[in-house]
């Protein structure tokens, strides 16, 4: 029975830790399909996380906090889109600059608002988005504790996988976005504004990152912490790269990375193994997954070249 319980809790923590990675992965998918590599997910999520806590704390309403987080995610996306599409800055540099500015800027804003540099836990009243207990399912042993009682954003994350899939497969804007990503010149020759589509993709990306950031500061924990996203944006990006921009594949990859994260967390409390090596697991898993999928893809291309 205890093993069963343990598996239940572990599964719960896998799904919980996958949530921000799924949002980040989907945000990366949206940009990738439009032909761009969005590496500023990290910065977007950080800004959103802080905005969520601040808005919720100031207004006393957690939903306004969520809206604030989304707005700030979108704003950051807009800054990147403006710099790279209108200002013709190198996209890589833009994203690195935005991440840099976000990591320092959030601390700066936090200090101005609360007078603290590490967390907002003491100064701003904590708010969490509600958790949902699914009736009936929560009675099932093993599966019940795993998939019931999650934060509302976790369910949103899994829902978004299908929403994003639907967006690309079935809507007009999604089709146009894919066209721009595949061949911008061809797309613009039939009257699609490449720049406009690029802006839209970054703004949608910003919405998803807003949710991801909100989950970090109002679901995972209920305060903002310095550098709390901690590489999750980049892990999400590699989830997207592994799946080659397929939303469902990216979702699965994100859950896999969530699994490694949960493994590290649960091992930390159970073994006397140096924690430093356990902390490395999610990052090492990302590198190894990139290697394996890169190899598969290259072999696939080789086979195509050979005419098999």
């Amino acid at each position: 029975m205890t093993t069963l319980n343990w598996i239940g809790t572990f599964g719960f923590s896998v799904l919980r830790l996958s949530t921000p990675l799924i949002f980040a992965g989907l945000a990366a998918v949206i940009s990738k399909k439009a032909g761009m590599m969005n590496m500023a997910l990290e910065g977007m999520m950080l800004c959103a996380a802080l905005a969520g806590v601040v808005f919720a704390g100031k207004t006393g309403n957690v939903w306004i906090g969520l809206i604030g987080a989304v707005i700030f995610g979108v704003l950051t996306g807009g800054v990147i889109a403006f710099a790279s599409l209108s200002g013709l800055t190198d996209l890589y540099l833009t994203c690195i600059a935005v991440n840099l500015a976000a990591s320092g800027g959030t601390v700066f804003v936090m200090y101005l608002l609360t007078g603290e540099k590490a967390t907002t836990s003491a100064a701003i009243k904590a708010f969490s988005l509600p958790s949902i207990t699914i009736p009936l399912i929560n009675k099932i042993p093993l599966i019940g504790p795993m998939i019931s009682g999650h934060n509302i954003l976790t369910y949103c994350a899994f829902l978004s996988i299908f929403v994003v899939w639907f967006f690309f497969a079935r809507t007009r804007l999604g089709l146009r976005m894919r066209a721009v990503g595949e061949n911008p010149n061809a797309a613009s020759s039939v009257g699609i504004s490449v720049k406009r589509i690029g802006y839209i993709s970054f703004l949608i990306s910003g919405v998803l990152c807003g949710f991801g950031g909100a989950f970090m500061s109002m679901g995972w924990v209920s305060f903002f912490m310095k550098n709390m996203v901690n590489g999750r944006g980049y892990i999400g990006l590699s989830a997207c790269n592994i799946a080659d921009g397929n939303p469902i594949g990216a979702g699965i990859a994100a859950i896999f990375f969530g699994f490694t994260d949960a493994t590290a967390t649960s091992l930390k409390s159970q073994t006397s193994f140096p924690t430093e090596f356990l902390e490395m697991i999610p990052y090492a898993a990302t590198i190894i997954a990139m290697m394996i999928f890169g190899m598969i893809r290259i072999n696939h291309l080789k086979n195509i070249e050979k005419g098999k």
Binding site: M37, M39, A83, S86, G87, L88, T89, D90, Y92, L93, T94, I96, A97, V98, L100, A101, A102, S103, G104, G105, V107, F108, Y111, L112, K117, G231, Y234, I235, L237, S238, N241, P274, E276, F277, E279, M280, Y283, A284, T286, I287, M290, M291, G294, M295, R297, I298
Partner: protein, 371 residues
């Protein structure tokens, strides 16, 4: 230099100065807006870094690691690979050489030890920077993600080495055993207290400049970065050049970490990433990947940093606002369209003048023939 490239150079310079000017203005406005005593704070921010001999020394001291990581990113940037391991290498090389110095340092003559440690630091950099380069070329992995993941791994690995291989349990905070005296770089220029890594940095800048502009490899590298199709068509070994450039960059970051630890620290005690790598990226962007301009950019950044440090200690302003300013500078310097119209106009004007002159000459020549 023909007229067009002269114009390009001038506009580039104006652009960079304008970007720094705007960013500085943003910094001053921010300070003005949030401080209780803005005049005093702004005065501290601008003049504070020059207020004492010690502080001038610390500007130079801070500019030394920035120069190394800046040079490192010149290489990465020159071949258009954003291999960000410079950040992790800086910390990890510092850790490795501290370990070596503590384990074998005592008793070995100082010059031998210093040369050996610098070599080890450089080698560490080479090995580490090869990993993302290899992942990129062999597995087509995104190099930014690969290098950032590697950085996180290196941070934990350094902490592990410090905790389990060289921890000093007699001190309260987490730190290594003291680094032996005969491994330390001496400080020079008396009161300024500048670390001797200064000379290493100068040598590095000169060597890199020669490599960039006077050697075949440097030319190849620049061609690969600026026009890969042309490089391919010329038969330049693309992969080899790209990897070699990243390895040299890694070595420079490693030397930077080594000098920083040996020059400024009594013991190794970094537990978080030092951010020197990202500062180096900014230096390289500011210097427009020109190694000769790197020390100037490094000095500028160090000046702003020390200014922020002074403000941080004197008043109510957290030092983090500098990273925002840094982001703005990178964006504006890298933005092609920032003052792009101005540049086009100037180039157009010069070209028109040249054309008019040519026509005039041709007309004169024709006239003289007729006579």
């Amino acid at each position: 230099m023909n007229k067009t490239s002269k114009v390009e150079f001038t506009v580039e310079l104006i652009r960079i100065l304008a970007a720094i000017g705007i960013a500085y203005a943003v910094a001053l406005i921010t300070l003005f807006a949030i401080s209780d005593d803005p005049v005093y704070i702004i005065k501290q921010f601008i003049l504070g870094p020059f207020s004492s001999v010690r502080r001038i020394g610390s500007i130079v001291n801070l500019a030394i690691p920035f120069t190394f990581t800046g040079l490192c990113f010149c290489f990465m940037y020159a071949v258009n690979k954003f291999n960000l391991t410079g950040e992790g290498i800086f910390m990890f090389a510092g850790c490795i050489i501290s370990l070596v110095a503590i384990k074998v340092g005592t008793g070995v003559p100082k010059p031998v030890m210093l040369v050996a440690l610098l070599t080890i630091g450089a080698l560490t950099g080479v090995i580490i920077s090869y990993i993302p380069a290899w992942l990129d070329t062999k597995f087509n992995a995104n190099i930014v993600v690969a290098s950032l993941m590697l950085n996180s791994i290196l941070v934990f690995f350094s902490i592990y080495i410090m905790k389990y291989a060289m921890r000093d349990t007699t001190i309260g905070s987490l730190g290594s055993l003291p680094i032996p005296e005969n491994c330390k770089l001496p400080s020079i220029f008396g009161k300024f207290r500048i670390q001797a890594g200064f000379f290493v940095a100068i040598v590095a800048v000169i060597l890199v400049a020669i490599l960039f502009y006077k050697m075949v490899f440097g030319y190849k590298m620049r061609v690969v970065g600026s026009n890969p199709w042309f490089a391919k068509a010329c038969g330049i070994n693309m992969t080899g050049t790209i990897i070699a450039a990243q390895l040299i960059g890694g070595a420079l970051a490693g030397v930077g970490g080594t000098c920083e630890i040996l020059g400024n620290y009594d013991r190794y005690k970094w537990v978080v990433s030092t951010q020197h790598g990202f500062d180096g990226l900014m230096v390289a962007v500011l210097a427009r990947r020109n190694p000769i301009l790197v020390p100037i950019a490094a000095f500028l950044l160090a000046y702003i940093r020390i200014g922020a440090d002074v403000v941080n200690s004197k008043g109510d302003i957290p030092i983090e606002f500098i990273t925002v300013i840094q982001g703005i500078v990178i964006l504006m310097v890298a933005a092609e369209e920032f003052m792009g119209k101005f540049k086009k106009k100037l180039i157009y004007k010069v070209a028109e003048e040249e054309l008019a002159e040519k026509e005039k000459k041709a007309a004169e020549a024709a006239g003289s023939k007729e006579v």
